[in-house]
């Protein structure tokens, strides 16, 4: 007989989370989830609940936590508006494969379908954006639902799950015991790897004269950073990254050739259409990466390493697909790979780098004009943190500048909303990121637009004392949209100019030390002061108003038609 205890459903929720190793969760209370909050009060020594200022903030904080720690992020919300406010964060976690468990309260089961106060059908609403979801209406079903949720969220290709628990299930009694879930019969998280495909991939790699790797977040999610490095070095292959793959391989690695995609680097975009073998690892050929698919790497053979069979041939037709967990498949392929160097091919990347440096990068890092550039702010942060900060970026121009100019030494250091492009992501995500990596410097890079979407989370920083460094790059515009208006809409700046509040005063209202920088000579000192500060810190930098992010692959163009100006 299993040992059980008679407790209520709400207590079972909290004890099940503790049994899963959860020690921090984010959320916002309300009527339908009050029994669970009552138990969180009881167990506060074991499970720290962080009160965010909006449910969306709770999901982004949980995402930030998951991204830096590699653990499952947990968010709570009440029924109705609480639940619907989670949806943006859940959708973000779904498209960026972030493991997250969301628990929502729901009206009592006898009220379901009656349009009761704060009733929404969150199961239907969240279905398209969750890996799995379930409604629990009986107390005795709670432990198994939570066990299954954690198993599904973190196994295979990770993703968000949602458990909706009716109030009567929270209050009902059950005989509690907890068993972790290790199998769901209809679900195969890691498909078997076909060793023949591994060998075919190795044969192509060994025969290639101009091979190129593009790695994505699959490397980080699979914990395959050292296998990637070993492969890159043994086969001597120039390797580029997607936005979410960034930091899986140190940015100063001699074979790291930069970012692919719309605002990626010149060399890897140009040479995507010159390579004879494209090796995609844990990435999904997003449209921002590929541009016009009909003109994408048509000359090359394509190998695709991925854990998700549905990604194979979804956007780009592959010659060899190696399905499986990246840590395992990369280790296997490594056995069959010859040691090689491709120095003249690597040199082609470096020649493009020179052009890009002269036309684009030099102007960002060594500007001759008066206005500050975003690039020099990132360079200052690199300097102050010795290329080893966790950079949490929001969405827009500053995000592209952050991923282009921040240097990284360690994995899980780049946290950004890649697939969904959620403005307002960075501030709450940075709170979670810092809690997930407390010993690291966590710097949020945010635009003046995105900051105002979730700036209420300054209150969460105040209340928790989380030492997040916040850098607002203020150009008084919704800069990325303005850039498109300039380039493609004849400079008709429809609703992109921002009249902003006094951000420093706003930060100070939340007791966060704050400074505004308008002159170049004050910049590095302020960054150094921010990094040295023990607490959170707010730094507003006034940057050039109408700077653009280049290079750029215009929507619908081929990656090799990348523009430098």
């Amino acid at each position: 007989m299993k040992k059980t205890e008679r407790i209520i459903g709400a207590e079972a929720v909290v004890r099940s989370l503790i049994a899963e190793g959860v020690d921090v969760a984010y959320g916002y209370p309300g009527g339908a989830i009050m029994p669970i909050y009552d138990e969180l009060y009881k167990y506060q020594d074991q499970l720290h609940h962080v009160l965010t200022r909006h449910e969306q903030g709770a999901t982004h904080a949980a995402q930030g936590f998951a991204r830096t720690s590699g653990r499952v992020g947990v968010a709570f919300a009440t029924s109705g508006p609480g639940a619907t406010n989670l949806i943006t964060g859940i959708a973000d976690a779904q498209i960026d494969s972030t493991p997250m468990v969301c628990i929502t309260g729901q009206v009592a089961s006898h009220l379901l379908g009656t349009d009761a106060f704060q009733e929404t059908d969150v199961i239907s609403i969240s279905s398209p954006v969750t890996k799995w979801n379930v409604q629990v209406t009986k107390a005795e079903d709670i432990p198994a639902a939570i066990a299954k949720a954690f198993y599904i969220a973190k196994s295979g290709r990770p993703g968000p799950v949602l458990i909706d628990i009716t109030k009567d299930a929270q209050l009902g009694e059950l005989d509690y015991s907890y068993e972790k879930c290790t199998v769901v019969r209809s679900y195969k998280p890691i498909p078997e790897t076909n060793i023949e495909k591994v060998k075919e991939a190795a044969t192509l790699i060994n025969a290639a004269k101009k091979p190129m790797i593009i790695f994505g977040q699959g490397v980080i999610l699979g914990g395959a950073e050292s296998e990637l490095k070993a492969l890159v070095e043994k086969a001597g292959i120039p390797s580029a990254w997607t936005v979410l793959g960034l930091s899986a391989l140190a940015t100063n690695h001699p074979l790291n050739v930069g970012m692919v995609g719309m605002h990626g680097h010149y060399g890897p975009n140009k040479l995507t259409n010159e390579c004879d073998l494209l090796i995609a690892i844990g990435m999904r050929f997003d449209d921002r990466v590929t541009g016009d698919l009909s003109k994408y790497a048509k000359q090359a053979k394509v190998i695709h390493f991925d854990i998700d069979p549905a990604e194979v041939d979804k956007n780009v037709k592959t010659d060899v697909a190696v399905i499986g967990d990246s840590k395992d498949t990369l280790a296997k392929v490594l056995e069959f790979i010859d040691e090689k160097e491709h120095s003249s091919w690597l040199q082609e990347f470096r020649s493009f780098d020179k052009i890009e440096f002269e036309k684009v990068i030099n102007g960002q890092l060594n500007p001759t004009k008066e206005g500050l550039t975003m690039g020099e702010v990132l360079q200052g942060i690199n300097k102050a943190t010795h290329d080893d900060a966790v950079i949490v970026s929001d969405v827009g121009q500053h995000q592209m500048m952050a991923v282009r100019y921040a240097n990284f030494t360690h994995t899980r250091s780049n946290v950004t909303s890649g697939g969904l492009g959620t403005m307002g992501f960075a501030l709450p995500a940075a709170i979670g990121a810092k809690m997930g990596a407390p010993s690291r410097h966590v710097v949020a890079i945010i635009g003046d637009g995105g900051f105002q979407m979730t700036c209420q989370e300054l209150g969460t920083i105040l209340q928790t004392g989380t030492a997040v460094k916040i850098v607002v790059l203020n150009n008084e515009f919704l800069g990325m949209v303005r850039q498109w208006q300039q380039l493609f809409f004849d400079k008709r700046y429809a609703s992109t100019e921002m009249i902003n509040p006094n951000f420093v005063k706003l930060a100070e209202a939340y007791s966060i030390p704050a400074k505004k920088i308008v002159k170049r000579e004050d910049l590095q000192g302020a960054i150094d002061e921010m990094i040295a500060c023990e607490t959170s810190y707010f730094l507003e930098v006034m940057v050039e108003k109408e700077d653009n992010v280049f290079p750029m692959v215009p929507t619908g163009s081929s990656v090799s038609d990348i523009r430098l100006e």
Binding site: I123, P128, Q135, A310
Partner: protein
Amino acid sequence: MEKKLYTISVYSENNLGLLNRISTIFVKRHINIESLTVSASEIENVSRFIVVVNMTEEAVKKIIGQLEKQVEVIQAYYHTDDEIIFTETAMFKFKSDLLFENPQIQNIIKENNMNIVTVNRTFFIVEKAGRRHEIDAIYDAFAPFGIAQFVRSGRVAISKEAMNIRKILGEIVQ
């Protein structure tokens, strides 16, 4: 690539929300579902969806990938009409007077081996299981007399090849 009728069979856990998840996969990609049938399968607590779509093979393969990605989907298959045995059921309702006024109606019923489901003083109902074109032909034959109600089920289909669902479930459970 040429568009064709494909019959998709999805074996899944019998879960309330799954119909929503499955239909979303089609709706999101603007794929028109020709017919959808959900029923029990040969395995207890395992449901079977039969979805008929008109699309290219390349597109249907991607749909299968998206279906199998669902946690509660056990396996999904797609077949052409040659690879399955399939049928649909149709029911027609008429005013009973018509049976006496129009002897052709009786002929249509006989010629097509239709079943008489019910007859009473005010109405009668006949049914027919068969291929879409057979039912369409019967409909056209009946139409001039005035059909009071018509309904046709979605396609149900059984594959000629074996579907090793029990084996799949067994393999994963071990």
